[in-house]
Symmetry: C2
Subunit: 180 residues, 2 copies
Amino acid sequence: MDRLTEKKKGSTEIFKGKIVHLLVDKVGLPNGNEATREVVRHPGAVAIIAVNEQGEMLLVRQYRYPLDKIIYEIPAGKLEPGEHPNDSAIRELEEETGHRCRRMEQVASFYSSPGFSDELLNIYFTDTLTDGSQHLDDDEFLEVYAVGLDEAVQMVRDHRIADAKTVYAVQYLQLKAAKK
Amino acid sequence: MDRLTEKKKGSTEIFKGKIVHLLVDKVGLPNGNEATREVVRHPGAVAIIAVNEQGEMLLVRQYRYPLDKIIYEIPAGKLEPGEHPNDSAIRELEEETGHRCRRMEQVASFYSSPGFSDELLNIYFTDTLTDGSQHLDDDEFLEVYAVGLDEAVQMVRDHRIADAKTVYAVQYLQLKAAKK
């Protein structure tokens, strides 16, 4: 066994909700002691870096209840059970922004907060947008914007863009621009 | 009221642990309907992009129980109650890597997963490392590595680096290198 690995010794389910599935597990540590680990199981999510014909990125402006704040994010959503991330990305892009696309490619995937959650963010890129139709969930309210890269960089600085996946998206487009 | 904002109507505490504080709130939606919101309250965290004299970034190799995986991350840790993020960053850098530093600056802050959590990641940068002494928590086991930027980019590609803050850090250093 790797000298860093922990071994599960027991698990208690605390809560199973619409998004969050919380477990508290007892683990054996590498040195033989025991500890508890709080784990939020999450179905995973997709997020889409979508660039229009004018070279602007699409952002959705949305109230985020945990923050009690309105922020700008790239279009994103949870994976549905059994859904492939590719299909999820195409679905969420259209649902939130009203755009379909001709091609979409996965450019990254990363864990949002590996200390306590297994949420994996799958990031997609497209610059081949076509028309579709927006259809939001019953409890979803958002506005769609398109912003240029300079404006997006400024929005990161002044914290209108304030979440990991969207900060990643802005850096991704900055690096793409720097390579040209 | 902004036509996106939700209004808290009630709150039930589900669990309060060492890291995770889970609440399920009842909210009023902009259209007058009601919904529930699952919220993981988190004290916030710091993470440090630390570059040594050879221009390599410091990474810690660590088992992450929620993922059942060993991954490489930049040094990081939770805020202690009442602690300023600057102090927390200096403390975590030394505890995890055994390095102090002469100067450190905050370069970003972002929410890891604003759909269900208020965890804010405060990201710091330093390239003025000095010697200190590593002292890990009782239940913390990790190994420290220093890797060049090309290697770090490859580690993102092959998912040895697989978390949001460390992917951010690698892109941050790529953008810094591109501007030189």
